[in-house]
């Protein structure tokens, strides 16, 4: 059984992918904290409603070789440079380490929350199957 067929699991894995991508962007910002003319990047916020609507939609089945395959996942989220920043160094670098570290911390915490929800859901499925769920 593919857990991604279930709406909630689908949204959760999408959100995890979003957090993964955000972690990469934040790591890049911190690594470039002293690069001249570098502006910090960020990712578009995760829109829960939109994702839920997408998760409910039926995907194309694509049973024959000639059918187009539409991949519903694997699309990277859009990212761009942040417009405003607390301060810009004389060399044109606008990365503020404090801001970035706060975002990194929040990202890790949200990811952890998501993992716990995921675990709970799997536990509920286990209970439904009849084996004793561990949690």
């Amino acid at each position: 059984m593919d857990l991604r067929n279930l709406g909630l699991f689908r949204v959760m894995t999408d959100k995890m992918a979003w957090h993964n991508q955000r972690q990469e962007i934040l790591a890049r910002n911190v690594a470039n904290a002293d690069t001249p003319e570098y502006r910090p990047h960020d990712i578009v916020p995760f829109d829960f409603k939109r994702e839920l609507r997408q998760a409910k939609g039926l995907p194309l089945s694509g049973q024959k070789p000639g059918h187009l395959s539409v991949s519903m996942d694997g699309d990277a989220y859009r990212e761009g440079k942040t417009r405003t920043s607390y301060e810009t160094a004389p060399a044109g670098n606008a990365v503020v380490l404090e801001e970035q570290m706060m975002l990194v911390g929040r990202n890790a915490a949200d990811y952890q929350t998501l993992l716990n929800i995921y675990r709970k859901q799997v536990g509920m499925l286990r209970t439904a199957i009849g084996r004793s769920g561990t949690q």
């Binding site: 990469e24 911190v30 904290a33 001249p36 380490l97 890790a108 952890q112």
Partner: protein
Amino acid sequence: MSTDLMKSLAISASGMKAQGTRLRIISENLANANSTAPSPGDLPYRRKVVLFQNALDRELGLDTVQVKKIDVDRSDFQRRYDPGHPSADADGYVLMPNVSTLVESMDMREAQRSYEANLNVIESTRQMIMRTVDLLRN
């Protein structure tokens, strides 16, 4: 599963490498803060500076940070009156390196701070990976 997380680790590692190079150059500058010229006509040690750039790592497909080039500081040398010095000129002045210990130690602090920030990102990413792997436990 965690290709993006592995990418973050690679990016942070590149940042730490760049800051490490910077720290090495700072220590070269500090060590040579009193390296005068060997003879009156020569020039003393010239301060070096590190230039960073945001570079695309083609192998990993990532924007990492690299040391673009290690250049020299073109500012003027200091002059110190010391007629007995072997490399003093006719007027008794010796050219000293254009290294300022104060600037270097401030630069060192900044490099250290950036290095620690990268280290924290690595730690946070590592925790995210480990906790994802922990999902397998139950």
